[in-house]
Amino acid sequence: MIGRTRSVVLVGLTGHLIEVEAHLAASLPAFTIVGLPDTALGEARDRVRAATSSSGLLWPARRVTVNLTPASLPKSGSVTDLAIAVAALVAADQIPPAAPASAVHLGELGLDGRVRPVRGILPMVAGAVEAGLTRIVVPVGNLAEARLVEGADVLGVASLAELLAMYGSTEAVATASEPVLEAPPPVSHANRVDLSDVQGQADARWALEVAAAGGHHLLMTGPPGTGKTMLAERLPGILPDLPAREAVAATSVHSLAGTLDPSAGLISRPPFEAPHHSASAAAIVGGGARLARPGAISRAHGGVLFLDEAPEFSARVLQTLRQPLESGEIVLHRAHGAVRYPARFQLVLAANPCPCGRFHGNGAGCTCTPLERRRYLSRLSGPLLDRVDLQVAVLPVRLGAAAGGEAESSVEVAARVAAARRRARERLADAGWRMNAEVAGAWLRARTSGPACAPAWRALERGLVSARGADRALRVAWTLADLDGDEAPGAAHVEQALLLRRGDS
């Protein structure tokens, strides 16, 4: 007797459809699972057996062999519990085979027979739909998230008994009735802030707007208490909505990381991630034994990764950012295989000017030695700063400036950013870029007019910027032109861009 059904396993963010077969043999009672299961999946034997008897059915006194195919794909976790139970009970003739064979079953079983929610339902359901199977059974606690996938015919079940009764079993009785629901994660603070909260800081606000319009990475240096963190938190608020593909990828990452609020639907607003400077490399890029889980850079996919006190991060952690900054994704290799997570984020760095934080203006009050000061910022390595187009100083607000007038709100700034982005997108569509920050240096030099370039070459000649620095000034100049609504940057834009990079040498 053979029972068959389907389930999905995740490798990274890709859901792979697997077939679950159960075979019953007239032999001594045993229960084996084959097909590269890991420990959590091996423990499914005990959960499935207990859940079945809790549902009022007898577990077959046979040799039960469950095979998960393709056998070469490593399988992990508890999400296949439900499929294993259904396949075994089909094989035992407890339920008819037709309906379960064409359905996908996802969910972990409790010993009491309830179906418990699992992480990563969105990419799993998407994987099943992509493979052409649309009838999908999910835990009732994951129903809202599963419904986000278009074209899926999703059914939420609270217990194994409920599902078996639906498949025509007359003996199945649920012993526990309260369905298991997942508590939604706390609402992120970044969604409730507005740029009008920031008093003064016209230069830094302008830099933030330019960063948003061109997708440029940003470094802010300045003494503590000047609003660097406040500004960074308000960057997602002036960024445009995520395009559809990016929204699905971002939602999938958060589903897998367990930080998704499914009642809010797909993540359409850019996320904001601010890991503490004590974070390990694995926490930032993703990690964990066997197949790695997504880290802060992937949770920031489509949004902003903010590193406050950036020089305090360990050098190793900062180095790991280089590959994702270049490619927009991270590949994590483990003994059991490599996983790929999206990681296209906008990097915002904040740093004090020196270890004591008071070196600004004439430097009065700073207790650091010149050597300490130099060492401090040099912890941000050249290769990393090479990718940061904007470097601005955030100075203490003077009394007069703070009191002056109503500050612009995020909505007003976001409208200008959206217009500039649209202009850039139309211009760059043919070359395959979306924002100025992605544009290659050769393209910039070829398209920028000679007179406009002049200030950059002059600065290069005088040794004020490096060749790469000159390229970056041109890149920012295009964004400034987009914000002004001009076709191409002029000399004034390039001069302004050079000012926005004053950290460079």
């Binding site: 007239a26 032999s27 001594l28 009672p29 006194a61």
Partner: protein
């Protein structure tokens, strides 16, 4: 004789009768040595079969065959070897079967024959 031994004996009698009906030749019953006891030794055609009989009244303690653990199976294998060593004949095939006998409160006994379990 304790009640459970009587039940076991009754189950074994049932099995012997059933095997004989199917043309098996019973060579020995309750053969003992230092390792323990074999319930039934029989031949089915060319094959020599060591049969372990497990009898239960009702299903409250689970199916009878669940009582045959990996350790018991290993002991059955050692017993089979001991029995073979005491014989002059040789068989081309030797296997171990378990027959699970369930005795319901009313009605006929239910026999389940599990072939070549180890």
């Amino acid at each position: 004789m304790a009640a459970k031994d009587a039940v076991g004996r009754y189950g074994e009698d049932l099995v012997v009768r059933r095997l004989a009906e199917r043309g098996w030749v019973v060579l020995a019953r309750n053969w003992r040595c230092r390792e323990g006891e074999i319930d039934i030794v029989a031949t089915e055609g060319d094959a020599l079969v060591v049969v372990e009989v497990k009898t239960r009244r009702g299903a409250s303690m689970g199916a009878p065959q669940e009582a045959v653990t990996v350790r018991k199976l290993a002991r059955l294998r050692r017993l089979a070897a001991a029995w073979l060593a005491a014989q002059d004949r040789r068989w081309p095939e030797v296997r171990i079967d378990v027959v699970a006998v369930t005795l319901p409160r009313a009605g006929a006994a239910r026999l389940e024959h599990l072939r070549a379990v180890g």
